[in-house]
């Protein structure tokens, strides 16, 4: 209509958008998503995130399937295990009938079997280079074996055999040098090239159950003795350093691989104790939850957590500074767990138990094992932070903390709780009816240490 009037330019308004704002340059670019972060447009943030957190927690419990596989083949209880230092997929295990098996974990099969000792295989350790391993057994021998299987027609023979004077009960290898330590009647330091120990430590005890080198300060080592003590040594010194005597015997111990002065020992009194080696008069943390003697302990390679095996047929995972376990693993068929290892990639836990099986567990029960896409990983991270944020809310906590326990175990736990309460009450009453300050008020940490011997 207007145009008929003349050539004057008419003003025409048109919707115009710059394609640069919304079109991808290539199809590999991510889609541009305009967002408005105005909080009024996104109300109820707390309740929405709470719901997400609750859902994430529930899903975590849903996906928590820690048991990966069981390796069977031993003809007696598995007494000791060793991680390969260079290969993640290799595991060595020694059983109570003197048999040593080498396992391929990816294939879940035994690749080599050898009769190493007569009687128990007491200890086993892989050399730091991964080319050979040592075993000690009830037959008073230390044997060094090649990691590779013998060729066709070759006989299975140890590289070296050292005949000791007494039974060896434990074994550990130095982190870098050709030196290893055994324990039995005394703690011996051996050079690989010699048949007699280069150093022997004794300190009024004649029976040691475990010896471990410190992986960080590699010259230090610690051992558990039958007089309920944990003894510290320096390889370079001629005498032991110090020992702490507890109320009950420690079975084994493990040093934190990332924090040089912390170690954790598992005790017959159902607890685990983390010590600072500089201050032995009191443990840093008492880890409680087992309902029977703790038999073995191993740190995760990140040094943030450790796993313990117990006579009560469970495996528990503790944070290094957590008084109670964050996870408990058990199966119907698993009997007393004798030995435990945390794999070197921080992903798996291996347990050897009385009923001749080695079990492979996930360290994080709900973790996805395969490769994760970036979005998946981000979602998982977000869920994790949400769970942490709302961990104190009763519903979330209830779901997150809930674990199924076998009936016997459950009742035992309850019983222990009652016993503990009774003991506490009695002590309180005694204190109430005795002279003030005649019954000292001891913390849980102080209770279990008898004395520190210099």
């Amino acid at each position: 209509m207007c145009n008929t009037r003349g050539p004057a330019m008419a003003e025409v308004k048109v919707l115009s958008r710059n394609p640069d704002d919304y079109v991808r340059e290539t199809k590999l670019d991510i889609q541009r998503v305009p967002r408005n972060y105005d909080p009024t447009l996104h109300p109820f943030e707390v309740s929405r995130e709470y719901t997400r957190a609750l859902n994430a927690t529930k899903l975590e419990r849903l996906f928590a399937k820690p048991f990966v596989t069981s390796l069977d083949g031993h003809r007696d209880g598995v007494n000791c295990m060793a991680k390969h230092t260079k290969t993640l997929s290799t595991l060595l295990s020694g059983s109570c009938d003197g048999e040593v098996k080498v396992w391929n974990l990816t294939k879940r099969e035994c690749v080599r079997t050898l009769q190493a000792h007569e009687g128990f295989v007491r200890g086993m350790v892989v050399r730091f280079c991964g080319s050979s391993f040592f075993t000690v057994g009830d037959d008073k021998t230390i044997k060094q074996w090649k990691m590779e299987a013998p060729g066709y027609g070759e006989e299975e023979e140890p590289l070296n055999t050292i005949l000791g004077k007494s039974v060896f009960t434990g074994l550990d290898h130095h982190q870098k040098d050709a030196v290893f330590a055994t324990c039995g009647q005394q703690v011996d330091i051996w050079d690989e090239q010699r048949t007699s120990p280069i150093r022997s430590f004794t300190w009024g005890v004649d029976s040691f159950s475990a010896v471990r080198f410190n992986p960080v300060e590699t010259e230090l080592l610690a051992s558990c003795a039958s007089d309920r003590s944990v003894v510290l040594y320096d390889m370079r010194e001629s005498t032991p350093l110090k020992k702490v005597i507890m109320t009950m015997r420690s079975n084994t111990l493990c040093w934190n691989p990332m924090e040089a002065y912390y170690f954790t020992c598992c005790n017959e009194d159902y607890n685990l104790y983390t010590y600072d080696m500089r201050f032995l008069d009191k443990p840093i943390t008492v880890h409680m939850d087992h309902v029977s003697a703790a038999l073995d302990v191993d740190y995760s390679p990140t040094g943030k957590e450790f796993v313990s095996a117990s006579f009560d047929k469970t495996i528990r995972i503790f944070a290094k500074d957590g008084g109670h376990s964050r996870e408990v693993y058990h199966t119907k068929r698993m009997q007393h767990v004798i030995c435990i290892k945390w794999s070197l990639d921080n992903k798996y836990i291996l347990s050897g138990s009385d009923e001749m099986n080695i079990r492979l567990w996930k360290a994080n029960a709900a973790e996805k094992l395969g490769v994760m896409s970036p979005r998946e990983r981000e979602a998982a991270n977000y869920n994790q932070t949400l769970k942490e944020k709302f961990q104190h809310h009763p519903q979330v906590r209830r779901v997150a903390r809930h674990r199924h326990l076998p009936k016997s175990l459950y009742h035992q736990t309850k019983e222990l709780r009652v016993m503990k309460e009774a003991r506490r009450r009695k002590e309180m009453n005694v204190r109430k009816h005795s002279k003030p300050e005649s019954v000292p008020l001891l913390t849980e940490k102080e209770k279990h240490v008898v004395t520190v011997v210099k």
Partner: protein, 802 residues
Amino acid sequence: MAKASKKKVSKAVVKAMDTTAAVTPDVVYDEEDEEDLSKADEVITSEDEDGEDERRRQKLLEAISALGGKRKKTLGERSEPSVQMSEFTVNADGEGDKIDLSDLIGTVERTSAVPATTKKQLKNLQRSTKPIACPLSKQESQRIQRDVAFQKAATEVTRWKSIIKQNQRAEQLVFPLNQEPIGPKPMERVVSGWKAQTPLEQEIFAVLSANKQPINDPILTPTEEASMRAMSLEEAKIRRAELQKARALQSYYEAKARREKKIKSKTYHKVQNKAKRKEFLKQFDEMVVADPASALEELNKIEMSRMQERMSLKHQNSGKWAKSKAIMAKYDDGARKAMQQQLEVNKTLTQKLVSSLNEEEEEEEKDEADAEVLPELVNDAEQVLNSLNPWMRGKLSEEHKEKEISNTVDLTAEGPGNTVEEDEDEEEVEETEEEKLLREFESRRKLRHALETDAAPLTCMDDNTEDKAAAENPDVSDKEEEELSEFTSLFRGIADSLQEAESETAEAGEDHSTPLEEDLIRVRTLEDMELLSQENLPSGEAAAPPQQPPDTAALSSATEKTGKNRKRKRGIELKEVLTKGTEVIKVPLIPTTEDNEDNEDTEDRDDGLDQSGLIKEAFAGDDVISDFLKDKRKQEDAGKPKVVDLTLPGWGEWGGTSLKPSRHKRRRFRVKTAPPPPRKDRHLPSVIMSEKRNSSISLHQVSSLPFPFENHAQFESTIRSPLGRTWNTERTVKKISMPKVVTQMGAIIEPMAREELLKERKQLVLRSFSRPCSPCFPGSPVKYSITGESCVFNQKHIGYRY
């Protein structure tokens, strides 16, 4: 060489002597053995000579001797031939002897290989006659050993503390710890045995090699490598950090200096200068001990400047400005003060520096100095100030008289003096003690003037009245005496040293302050009482202290003014005044008695009234019960559901300003909600129960404060802040939801290695250097230049990091 040969000779001699000494006893000891040996020798020789027959004979003899039952002694014996006979013909002497220490170390004295310290120790050992202490028992020594070893191990292990702490605090830890750095790698490491094969490649490599460009290692050229060798990255970082720190410090210093320069306060600069001078003197004293030569130099410099000052007319109050001020000085306090300051400056600058270096000279010059300093002051006083003031002339002949005059003045004069002071310079609250002193004297002089002009007879009668006054308050007069004596001593010893004089004047000033306050009390109490109880104390002024002299009446208005000023400025003094005032005057007792009366009244009333009555009286105005009922009604109403009207005008019918939606429509769109469940408190008339508490929600609420949080606000704020990407930007979300521990799939995590410790130390060093710099130079480019090649390196390896 000659020496060595000599030593050898001497050694040889010693040996020879030893052997000769050894020979004779040896023979004696070993006679029997030798006999045996000789026998055996004989036997052997005979065997050799006689052959078979002899041997047979020997056998026979042996058989016979065996029959006799006596065995040969030598058979079962074990002997060491070297003891008896040595191939070097040196026999060990004194075999059965007791060995002394001197036997063992006899030769040590003469050998040069043994260090002197060892020789000394040995000598000491020989000399000491005490028995050596019994060694510790095995248990104890082992215990000590263990303790020492443990301490050693503990300290060794403690080195890890910082790393452990750091890792515990770290937001994210990535394992394995020692991962290979990302970035370009040299070709040989990636591909082994690669060769240029195609002609193009060959050509390229030819060009590269011709230009000395790196072929195998594509990262660095030779010059760059050289620079790398010259300085490693770490070193460069450290160096840069150092330089940054230095620059930062410089800029701080400059800024500070600028700031200080801008300060206009003269007092500040005066104090500052004084402090500097003091500091300098201190340093100079130290220097005298440590480095006399340079100290002498410094001294010369000081002397020079002093000479210059003395020569020049600066600060002498002889310039144009000074003259004009001198005219003004009669009327203007400020001018006078300025002149005083000038003189002060002059005095300090012409002050002779006292040190051990020029002590001898000083004594000679002392008289001179006295003559130098004193006259100036005197001159000045005559020039500027009132010539009538004998103190300012430096004479104190008429001590007694002057003191008495001052007494009368003192009581009254301080008030106006202070007012002047405070009116004039309110900023200069902190004055130097000297100034105080001077002003005091000035005010005294002023008042004396006034007295002279106003009451001539009083001055005539001086002695008597002042004596009386002194008798009245002997304390004050005593104090004044002290002050005076101090002042005279000040005058006498003014040439000794400036510092001493200052301290003395300070003391004098302090002494002055006490009587000054006493004065003020009287004035203050009056005023305070007025303030305290104006309505019930009409006789406040009448209760003025009787000690107050009649002179003050004239100045009462002035004093009151000062009092007000004081009060405005300093609260503390007021308090002091209040406390002291109650002691002196009885007036404050009146209000207290009143209080007592009041108390009695209330007690009487208490007796009369019982508790309930009191409460009734207290809550007489408000009707609590009806209020409560109203409250309850209000809450009930609030709990009732409202009728919601969802009518939309204009929909389905005509709309407009004056039109209302139809009744039918309104009824249709009015939503009535169901009535709420009956209230819990409906049968309890005196109770309100909140209906807000929802048990279904409380299931989801945290009941107690969780561990790491210290208060509810903290916890609530953490809960309130959302984490998701609906509310946060992508980067924030990533940062928030960063996992604490990251591990690489399939990678073996080795235990912490010793190298981490070294790394940590290096980082610490770096951080300690760079910490103060980072905030002050956020985007500053790297400026420092290292000569030549390392510049290239800078650009490549440091520059780009910024």
